[in-house]
Point group: C2
Chain length 330, copies 2
DNA sequence: CTGAAAGCGCTTACAG
DNA sequence: CTGAAAGCGCTTACAG
């Protein structure tokens, strides 16, 4: 059995399709008795308007794409931040009556698919998540002309974004370690093609330089295992280090495991500070000192930015303040 | 500037719309020279077919909904399993040329929205994630007549599903603790309206009963904090317990924290076993013994099940084998 | 306030 | 192999 159409409802109610359409869309210029009759017919037939037909004629889809730049290795989507972002954004979009289309753009081919998808008019706007500096996707999407925002600062000035104050947060983290009297403070950096990693590393370097200390840097990719590996390398390079600032909590968790295996006590021998304040940070042994963005949901704000873009046609980037949450690891 | 239409391409190429359509859709019955001309016009104009128009006429959308039953508290989406499921499913669907529509259905209102959304023909099929036994959504969706599968066994027989062998896995976990010589084995259960939690608890009870031991049960909701709380309660109830089987890794992580705070050594005083083998299980102190489904991606299989449903019209439930991964916590 | 008509941008029998 | 025509199911000026 086919689904009933507007035509069927009109026939049953004995009115024109125009009137049915008006009732369905809640237009005020409909006589109460007609509204009644139509609503009854709608209920009796279980009518639901066809989405494709509606999209075609209104030229809108009420759908927003969440486009996540997830490398083949799945670095991004294994991060608890990914789930938080997707959830918070979904909620906010649902509250605004929008549908969510999730697109994981990993390979170059899938990037092409994304472009086609957007160009086909499937979505009214898009939110980019976790784009690295070299990614061609932001430029592609900006070219399509639909409203786009980025969750996370972009290297280029293609669209408004919402980000944590990475520089401020990392500065506070390193300052905290200095305040604790730590002398040899190392860092585990994120992948340097990502602005967040760049900012956190730069802040680390600058803060140490102000005190005349030298930087001790190992490179990770924001995963636990990379943090563990980087920590091992740092201990090799400088066995006397007494503190490490990891550019995110996952790498800090990896570093904690390496320190435990190496017999270093935390925080007695080595203090550890992370970044993000994911839920797991409260459950490490010892619980992890880290940097949190207290304004809460960057993702929620990103969605709001997108919505304001629809309303006002333009929007300014947003930088959310960050703060150190001191626990027992430092 | 409007986007170019099929009509514009036809005009530029000097052929009919039919021919352009055939070229776009790769139909073989097109003369090579016409194909050339059309493709050139497509490129010159940057033509991309309008998705809504296509959906309307073909009565298909090439879109699959991933519908996640996420309670207001966000229990599900904070779970690393959520991210894994979404990622694996997205990949598999993309490989099959499908778009992904992500729907988080928490409140009763949003369930209604989901029904409308599906009834509006926005998706060709759906994959349900983490439905509890009382959820009306599966029945709703089964009624719509579109192909639907469930990631996780359903209490009712409404659609095919893919699940881990929860009973087998939990049985092996408890057996493992018995083999280690543990005498008083407690469990932290998941929420009992979820089939996975029911199965794991039942298997725990049955395995212990076979040895004449009594069950020691505390209730959690699959979150870390609930595991921590439940562990505290278990220690109150039975200070002499020497092992605990948590129904998922997150609760096991919470239990580890409580044990640490209570001064119990793991595994010397209390052995701990989890379930799922999430990445974090390798990073706890000590690393967590847990149950893994080695066939890997339940989500990938669920998508494959859905695709086979499209092809064959029917499909059988799939149960994936599980195995214990022994680490240092037991 | 209501209805007939046009049109959104495609695909797909049907003739030729 | 190609094109003219119908039609997918809606919304929206336009008359009345």
């Amino acid at each position: 059995m086919r689904r009933p159409t507007l035509h069927a409802v009109a026939a049953r109610a004995g009115v024109s399709k125009s009137s049915v359409s008006r009732v369905i869309n809640g237009e005020p210029t409909v006589a109460p008795e007609i509204r009644q009759i139509v609503l009854r017919a709608v209920n009796e037939l279980g009518y639901v308007p066809n989405g494709a037909a509606r999209n075609l004629v209104t030229q809108r889809t009420n759908t927003i794409a969440i486009i996540v730049s997830d490398p083949p290795a799945g670095l991004v989507s294994d991060d608890p931040m990914f789930a938080m972002v997707v959830r918070a954004a979904s909620r906010e979009l649902e509250a605004a009556g929008k549908q969510v289309s999730l697109v994981l753009a990993g390979s170059p081919e899938s990037r092409l698919r994304v472009e086609q998808y957007v160009a086909a008019g499937h979505v009214d706007g898009a939110m980019l998540v976790s784009m690295d500096g070299a990614d061609p996707l932001p430029a592609m999407l900006a070219r399509t002309g639909i409203p786009v925002v980025s969750h996370g600062r972009l290297a280029t000035d293609l669209m408004p974004w919402v980000d944590n104050d990475n520089v401020g947060g990392a500065t506070k983290a390193v300052q905290h370690l200095l305040d604790r009297g730590r002398q040899r403070i190392a860092t585990i950096s994120g992948p340097l093609d990502m602005p967040a990693a760049q900012d956190r590393l730069a802040a680390y370097r600058d803060t140490l330089k102000d005190t005349g200390r030298r930087s001790i840097v190992a490179l990770g990719d924001f995963t636990r295992i990379s943090g563990a590996d980087a920590m091992r390398q740092l201990l090799d390079d400088d066995p006397d280090l007494d503190a490490v600032f990891a550019a995110n909590d996952l790498m800090a968790i990896g570093a904690l495991r390496t320190l435990r295996e190496a017999g270093r006590r935390v925080p007695d021998d080595v203090a550890v500070v992370g970044f993000d304040d994911i839920e797991a940070a409260s459950y490490t042994a010892p619980p992890l000192t880290t940097v949190r963005s207290p304004m809460g949901d960057q993702a929620t704000r990103t969605v709001q930015l997108l919505l304001s873009l629809f309303k006002d046609g333009s929007a300014e980037p947003v930088l959310l303040p960050t703060e150190v949450v001191v626990r027992e690891s430092s």
